[in-house]
């Protein structure tokens, strides 16, 4: 994950892609691939554009952001939080989430969308 931007930052991250954002997305993909024992080639990590609205330049800004993210996640209804965690941290598809949660796919999608909207509002 560190090696790719070190060698090819300009090619894989054209402006206005954020380095910190790219690293977060690429690291999550690699972690999920490892978790699900999938072959995650370097090609899969080439998210060409990630636009980050938040400031991650200083430790203070990062600490504030951590607080904000944790607060908003804790405020989510249980069903939305579960769906979001299944999707983000476990890399489940909507069908897998539906099976895990015991809901229809449409209901899972609605929960995901609602959760993401709440998070976006707080962090924007």
């Amino acid at each position: 994950v560190f090696y790719q931007p070190w060698r090819n930052a300009k090619r894989i991250m054209p402006e206005p892609c954020s380095l910190a954002g790219w690293m977060l997305v690429a690291t999550r993909k690699r972690a999920i691939a490892k978790l699900r024992r999938k072959n995650c080639s370097n090609e899969e990590l080439q998210e060409r554009e990630v636009v980050l609205s938040a400031d991650l330049e200083t430790h203070a800004a990062q600490n504030l952001l951590v607080e904000k993210v944790r607060t908003v996640m804790a405020s989510l209804p249980e069903g939305e939080l579960e769906a979001l965690e299944c999707a983000y941290f476990e890399g489940m598809s909507d069908a897998e989430m539906a099976e895990r949660i015991g809901q229809l796919r449409e209901a899972v999608r609605t929960r995901i969308r609602s959760a993401v909207e709440t998070v976006k509002k707080v962090l924007s």
């Binding site: 954020s18 999550r28 636009v51 999707a87 598809s93 909507d94 995901i112």
Partner: protein, 275 residues
Amino acid sequence: LSDEGHIRAEELELYTLGALPEEEAAAFKAHVAGCGECAMKLAQAHGSAALLAFAAKQEKPAGTIKAELMARIRARSESEERLAWPRQSNTQVPIGEQETTKERAKTRRGWNWMLAPPALVLILVSFDLAWQNRKLAAELAKEKQASETVARQAEEIAKLVRVLAAPDTLTVKLAGTGAASNGIGVVKYNARLGLVAYSAELPPPPAGKSYQVWLVPAKGAPISAGLVRTNGRATGSLWSVEVPASTVAKGFVVTIEAADGAAEPRGPKVLAGAS
């Protein structure tokens, strides 16, 4: 897709989280590739979703992780540079081309073996040329030294001719005294040119000693005019002497001194002559 022909927000969020089924994800990718508006929305959605990582427990990485990473980067860079030859070392080999690059490397290794005999010949020729070059350089230095000696001798002869031919050159005949009573010599001295030409017949000096010629001025202490280092038989020896202007030579004497000469005559006198 929405009624306006763009990606729906719900699909965008699911795709960003990697939760969209494969078929829908493929259609999504195809649309985003040709739609700048949706591509921008996707970039922003990626940015928002990325921040969810901060909900996870923060772990401090091991202290050695940076050193390990740099070592891996170094090792990988060196390996890529070897494979990339004859590309420029800073050229990145795209992932898809690495197999082709390995095949090229195998082919190169084959060529390398074929190139070994001519390389050996070149090395041998280089050694031979280097040896000849060294020999010629030594000969050149020797010739240069001989040429300098000849030039120096020619210059001395020219000076000697000038002294002998000058009308104001003084001739002083020297006669043997003491232990060298059979000795004989002559001095040609030109005060204007500051040159002394000396010729004499004397027995070889005692071991560790030399004959030294002295100019005896009308006033003041004797001035050294030259040292006969080899033996007593000196023919056409010429020395430049520094004497005060208009120094009148009262005469010349030759004494036996230390091998390196003396500042003033102390040894026994063997030749002497008045002007």
